[in-house]
C-alpha cells in the first residue's frame, strides 16, 4: 500500500498530535473499543503504524537493542513450549501469542520508533498523559456517583469489549467504579502510569497542579484498588531507598511507613479498608480468613495452581494454554486444570507459559531497563522510573500483558535514555524538548 506522496506527507506536527492522541486514549482499555481485541489505544497506534509504513518512514526508525533479545527469547520460549508439547494447539494459544506479539510490537517497538519519527517532546507526552489522566479521573468520579445513586455502570450505557465485568462493594455499602476498563485495578494501572508522566507537563504549568490533584486523587482513591495503593507506596519507597544519599531520606521513608502503620492500626476507615480491601485479600491468600471473597478465592486458586503447573512443567506450557484449557475444557497430560482463564499475574503467566528460563529472561529484560533509568538522575528519568516501577509491581497481580502502559513506559525509558539513537536520527531536531541539552 502506497499513498501518493503529494497527498500524504510526513508531518512531525501531525505525528506528534497522533502520538498524543494515543497516550490520551490509554484510559480506554475496554470502553468504546471497536472490537474485543481492539482497544482504542491499539487502534490509534495501529493506524499510525500503517500510515508510517505506507510513507516508508516506520522502517527507518524501528530498531532493536541487545536487551530486546531477552524479550524475543521470552516470546520464543512460550511459543516453543506449546509447539513442542504433546497435544493439539488450541485457538487460545494462537490468540494469546498473536496478542502478545502485537502488543509488544505495537506498544513497545513501534511506540519507541514513533516517539522518534514524530519528534515528540517530553512535555507533549506529559500533556497527553495529563489529558488521559483527567479523562480517567472524571470517568471514575462520574461512574462512582452514577453507581452509588442510580446503580448504573458506564458499561450499561456505552460498549465495553470485555464480557466479564465484576461488581464489587467496598466499605460496607459503596460500589467500586471500574472507570473505562473492565476492572477497577486495570484503571488504577492507568493512573500509575500516567500520573508521573503528567508531571512532565505540570512542572512547567504549576498553576494546574492543584486543580488537577483535586480530580486525580479522588479518581485514584475512589477505585479502592489495594494493589494500586500498595504498588505506589512500594515504588516510592524503593526509589527513595535507591536514591537515598542522606539519613534524612531514610528518616522520611521511616516516617511514611510509621504513618501508614499508625493509620492502618488506629483508623476506623483503615480498619474497614483492611478488612474489605487489603487485609481480607491477604488473609484469604494465606487461608486465614473465616470466609473467602470470590475474587480472592479464585486468585488463591490461580496462584497455587500456577505453582503446581510450574513444578510439573518447569519449561512452560506455552502462551495461552491455561486459557485454552479453561475455555475448551481440553485436558493436557501432566498439566493441572485451572478454574480461570489466566493466572492473574504477568510474572506467573510468563513462568507458566515460557518456563523458568522465560521468566528469568523477562525479569532480566525489565531489570536492565530499570537499571538504565535508575542510573540517570534527571527528573524525567525518575518520573518514568517511578511509573514503570509502580506498573511492574502491580503486574504481579495483573496478568493483562496487552495493556499499553508497561510497554509505553519501557519505550519512553529507552527514548529518554539512549542518546546515541537520537544522534543517529536522519532528521535531527528538538526531539526531546524536555531534556537537558546534553541529552539531546
Amino acid at each position: 500500500m502506497n499513498f501518493p506522496a503529494a497527498a500524504v506527507q510526513h508531518s512531525p506536527v501531525l505525528a506528534s498530535r497522533a502520538f498524543m492522541a494515543f497516550v490520551a486514549t490509554i484510559p480506554f482499555l475496554h470502553a468504546l473499543a471497536p472490537g474485543p481485541w481492539l482497544p482504542l489505544p491499539m487502534l490509534v497506534a495501529g493506524l499510525a503504524l500503517l500510515v508510517y509504513l505506507a510513507l516508508g518512514q516506520a522502517q527507518r526508525y524501528v530498531y532493536f537493542e541487545t536487551t530486546d533479545l531477552l524479550l524475543a527469547v521470552t516470546l520464543a520460549l512460550g511459543v516453543a513450549a506449546f509447539v513442542l508439547r504433546p497435544g493439539a494447539v488450541g485457538q487460545k494459544n494462537i490468540n494469546h501469542t498473536a496478542a502478545l506479539i502485537v502488543s509488544v510490537g505495537l506498544f513497545y517497538f513501534w511506540v519507541r520508533a514513533w516517539l522518534r519519527v514524530a519528534r515528540v517532546s517530553l512535555e507533549q507526552v506529559g500533556a497527553a498523559a495529563l489529558v488521559g489522566l483527567l479523562v480517567a479521573s472524571l470517568a471514575v468520579i462520574t461512574e462512582f456517583g452514577l453507581i452509588n445513586t442510580t446503580g448504573l455502570y458506564f458499561s450499561d450505557l456505552i460498549p465495553y469489549s470485555a464480557d466479564e465485568l465484576p461488581q464489587i462493594d467496598v466499605l460496607t455499602d459503596l460500589k467500586r467504579p471500574r472507570g473505562l476498563a473492565a476492572e477497577p485495578g486495570f484503571t488504577a494501572m492507568v493512573f500509575e502510569a500516567l500520573a508521573p508522566l503528567s508531571w512532565l507537563y505540570l512542572r512547567r504549568h504549576r498553576y494546574l497542579v492543584l486543580p488537577a490533584a483535586l480530580l486525580v486523587l479522588p479518581g485514584f482513591l475512589l477505585l479502592f484498588s489495594a494493589g494500586a495503593i500498595l504498588s505506589v507506596v512500594l515504588a516510592f519507597l524503593l526509589i527513595l531507598v535507591f536514591r537515598a544519599r542522606s539519613g534524612t531520606v531514610w528518616a522520611f521513608a521511616g516516617v511514611i511507613i510509621a504513618a501508614i502503620a499508625a493509620f492502618a492500626i488506629f483508623s476506623d476507615l483503615a480498619g474497614l479498608l483492611f478488612e474489605q480491601v487489603v487485609g481480607r485479600k491477604l488473609l484469604d491468600l494465606i487461608g486465614a480468613a473465616d470466609a473467602t471473597l470470590a475474587e480472592t478465592a479464585s486468585r488463591y486458586d490461580a496462584y497455587t495452581t500456577a505453582a503446581t503447573i510450574f513444578a510439573q512443567q518447569p519449561f512452560g506450557i506455552g502462551w495461552g494454554t491455561v486459557s485454552e484449557m479453561f475455555a475448551s475444557g481440553a485436558i493436557i497430560p501432566g498439566v493441572p486444570q485451572l478454574n480461570s482463564r489466566g493466572v492473574m499475574s504477568l510474572y506467573l503467566e510468563v513462568l507458566v507459559s515460557a518456563g523458568l528460563a522465560g521468566l528469568l529472561c523477562f525479569a532480566a529484560f525489565l531489570l536492565l531497563k530499570l537499571k538504565a533509568l535508575a542510573r540517570r538522575s534527571d527528573p524525567q528519568a525518575t518520573l518514568v522510573l517511578l511509573a514503570a516501577l509502580t506498573v511492574m509491581i502491580h503486574h504481579a497481580a495483573v496478568l493483562e500483558f496487552w495493556f499499553p502502559m508497561l510497554w509505553l513506559l519501557l519505550a519512553l525509558g529507552d527514548y529518554i535514555g539512549d542518546s546515541s539513537h537520537a544522534r543517529a536520527m536522519p532528521a535531527p531536531g528538538p526531539i526531546v524538548g524536555g531534556l537537558p541539552a546534553a541529552q539531546s
Partner: protein, 518 residues
C-alpha cells in the same frame, strides 16, 4: 439542587462552566449574563420549582420599583413613598411565606381566637433574596446605587452560588464584577482559589458537619420528646451542634465563594474562624459577617446606632439582635436566641465602657480564657437556636448545668471501680438513654468533636488556605506573568486531594444545609 449532590457536581456545574467559558470566548457579555441567570433559575427550580414564579416576580417587582425610585430621584421628587411601598411589599411577601403561621398562632394564643393556622411551604432562600433587594431599594433611594439592566439585576439576585443560603451580597460589590475583565475568564488564581474553597467547603459539610448531626439530633430530639437528659448528654449534644452548625454553614459559604470565584466573581467572606473570638463583639464580626453587616447598615444605623447616647444604643442593639433572631425563623426560640446574644452584646459593650480608662493589668485574663468563655456562651445560645421549643431548650440547659445530677455515660460504667479508687467519696452514677447515638458511641463522638474543635480553633481557615495557594498567582499577575505559579506545598495539594476524595466517597443523596431553612 444541593452543592453537595452528585447531580450538581457531575452535571450542573461542568455544564454551566463549559457553556459560560464558550460564551465568554466567542460572544459578548450579554449572552453570558443571560446564560448564568438561566442556569441559576434552573438551579433553583431543581430544588423548589413551585417557587420560581415567586422569585421571578420578586426580581421584576424590585427592579421596577428601583427604576421608579431612580427616576424620581433624577427629577428631584420625593422617593420615600416608593421606597416604603417597595420595602413593605417585600416584607409582606416575606411575612406571608415565613411568618404567617407564627403570627396567627400567637394571635390565637393572646386573644383566644381560633383562626385557622395557614400551612405555607417556605420558599428556599426567600430571606436572603428579600434582604438583598431591600438593600438595593434603600441604596437607590439614597442615590448610592447605579442603574443596572434587567439581565444583570436578575443574575445578581438569582446568582446560584449565593441564592439559597447566602452570603448576603451587595449590589455595589457584585454587579460591577459581571462586566469585569476576569468574569468567566477562568484565570489561574480564580481556578486555584475556587477549586480549593469548594473542596474545603465540601469536606466541612460531608466529613465534619454531617457525621456530627446524629449526636446533636439525638439530644435535641430527645429533649423535644420530653426525655430527661444527663449533664454529659446535654453538653455533648450542644457541643456537637455548635460544631455541626459552624461546619455546615461555613462549608456552604466556602463552596459558594469557591463556585463564584471559579466564575471570576468575588463574594464577600462570611466566616472568619468565629470560635476563636475573644468576645461576643468579636464573634459577631467573624460569624455570618454579611448578615451582621446588613443588619448594621440597614437596621442598627437607621435606628440611630450609637449616635444617641448609651441607653438608646443598647436599645438599638437589642432590637437589631431580636429582629436578627426572628429573621432566622418564625419561632420564639430564635427570638430568645437573638435576645440572648443581644444581652451578651450589651454586657460586652458595658464591660468595655467600664474598662476604658482603667489599668488593663488589673482586670485582664489570659486570651484563651476569654475565647473559652465566648465559646461556652455561644454554645449555650445555640441550645435555643436548635431546640424544637423553648421548653426543650430550657430542658437541655437545665441538664447541662447540673439540674439533673452528674451522671456519666452508661458506656463508662465498667470504669466505676477505677473511678471510685481515683476519686473516692462521690456516688458515681451512670445513665444514658441514647443507646445508638451518643453514649454508646462515646469514642466516635470524642474523636469527631475533638477533631472538629481543633480545626475550628487552631487550623488555618479556608480563606487563609485559598490565599496561600493563590499567593504566587496573584504576585504573578502584578508582574504580568499570571502563569508563573510556584507549587503549593505537597502536603497542601495531597491533603486537599485526599479530603476531596473522602468527601466524594461520603457524598450523600440528600443532606441539605441547615441554613436552607432560613
Amino acid at each position: 439542587m444541593l452543592f453537595n449532590s452528585w447531580i450538581f457536581v457531575l452535571a450542573f456545574l461542568p455544564a454551566t462552566l463549559a457553556v459560560a467559558s464558550a460564551l465568554r470566548r466567542h460572544l459578548s457579555l450579554g449572552p453570558l449574563v443571560v446564560w448564568l441567570a438561566l442556569a441559576s433559575l434552573a438551579f433553583y427550580a431543581l430544588w423548589s420549582p413551585r417557587h420560581v414564579p415567586l422569585l421571578l416576580g420578586s426580581i421584576l417587582f424590585n427592579f421596577w420599583v428601583g427604576r421608579a425610585i431612580a427616576s424620581r430621584r433624577r427629577a428631584a421628587e420625593p422617593v420615600r413613598g416608593w421606597l416604603a411601598f417597595g420595602v413593605a411589599i417585600d416584607l409582606a411577601v416575606l411575612a406571608a411565606f415565613k411568618y404567617a403561621a407564627f403570627i396567627v398562632e400567637n394571635a390565637n394564643a393572646v386573644t383566644g381566637a381560633t383562626l385557622p393556622v395557614p400551612v405555607v411551604e417556605l420558599p428556599v432562600g426567600v430571606s436572603f433574596y428579600t434582604f438583598t433587594q431591600i438593600a438595593f431599594l434603600v441604596d437607590v433611594s439614597r442615590g448610592e446605587a447605579s442603574e443596572y439592566g434587567l439581565q444583570r439585576f436578575t443574575l445578581f439576585v438569582s446568582y446560584f452560588p449565593h441564592l439559597v443560603a447566602g452570603p448576603v451580597i451587595h449590589h455595589r460589590r457584585v454587579i460591577p464584577q459581571f462586566a469585569a475583565p476576569r468574569f468567566c475568564r477562568f484565570e489561574a488564581p480564580d481556578v486555584l482559589a475556587g477549586s480549593c474553597l469548594f473542596a474545603i467547603g465540601l469536606a466541612k459539610k460531608v466529613l465534619l458537619a454531617d457525621p456530627l448531626a446524629p449526636f446533636a439530633d439525638a439530644v435535641f430530639n430527645g429533649a423535644s420528646a420530653g426525655i430527661p437528659l444527663t449533664l454529659w448528654e446535654s453538653w455533648g449534644g450542644m457541643l456537637a451542634y455548635s460544631l455541626q452548625l459552624y461546619f455546615d454553614f461555613s462549608g456552604y459559604s466556602d463552596m459558594a465563594l469557591g463556585l463564584s470565584r471559579l466564575l471570576g466573581v468575588d463574594l464577600p467572606v462570611n466566616f472568619n474562624s468565629p470560635y476563636r473570638a475573644g468576645s461576643i463583639i468579636e464573634f459577631w464580626r467573624r460569624w455570618h459577617i454579611t448578615l451582621s453587616r446588613f443588619l448594621r447598615d440597614y437596621l442598627y444605623i437607621p435606628l440611630g446606632g450609637n449616635r444617641r447616647g448609651p441607653i438608646r444604643r443598647y436599645l438599638n442593639l437589642m432590637a437589631t439582635m431580636l429582629l436578627g433572631g426572628l429573621w432566622h425563623g418564625a419561632a420564639w426560640t430564635y427570638v430568645v436566641w437573638g435576645g440572648f446574644h443581644g444581652m451578651l452584646l450589651l454586657v460586652n459593650h458595658a464591660w468595655r465602657a467600664w474598662r476604658t480608662g482603667r489599668p488593663a493589668s488589673r482586670i485582664s485574663l489570659p486570651t484563651f480564657l476569654w475565647t473559652l468563655l465566648t465559646f461556652v456562651a455561644v454554645t449555650v445560645g445555640w441550645a435555643f437556636f436548635r431546640a424544637g421549643s423553648l421548653t426543650a431548650a430550657l430542658d437541655v440547659l437545665q441538664s447541662a448545668f447540673g439540674g439533673r445530677g452528674l451522671a456519666l455515660p452508661q458506656s463508662l460504667a465498667p470504669a466505676r471501680d477505677w473511678l471510685v479508687t481515683v476519686v473516692p467519696g462521690i456516688d458515681w452514677t451512670f445513665s444514658g438513654m441514647f443507646s445508638n447515638a451518643l453514649t454508646e458511641n462515646v469514642w466516635l463522638w470524642t474523636t469527631l468533636t475533638g477533631c472538629a474543635l481543633a480545626i475550628a480553633l487552631a487550623a488555618p481557615n479556608s480563606m487563609a488556605i485559598a490565599d496561600y495557594v493563590t499567593a504566587d498567582a496573584r504576585a504573578g499577575e502584578s508582574t504580568g506573568r499570571p502563569r508563573s505559579v510556584r507549587l503549593p506545598r505537597w502536603s497542601v495539594v495531597a491533603g486537599l486531594g485526599v479530603i476531596c476524595a473522602l468527601s466524594l466517597a461520603r457524598l450523600q443523596a440528600n443532606s441539605p444545609f441547615i441554613y436552607y431553612q432560613f
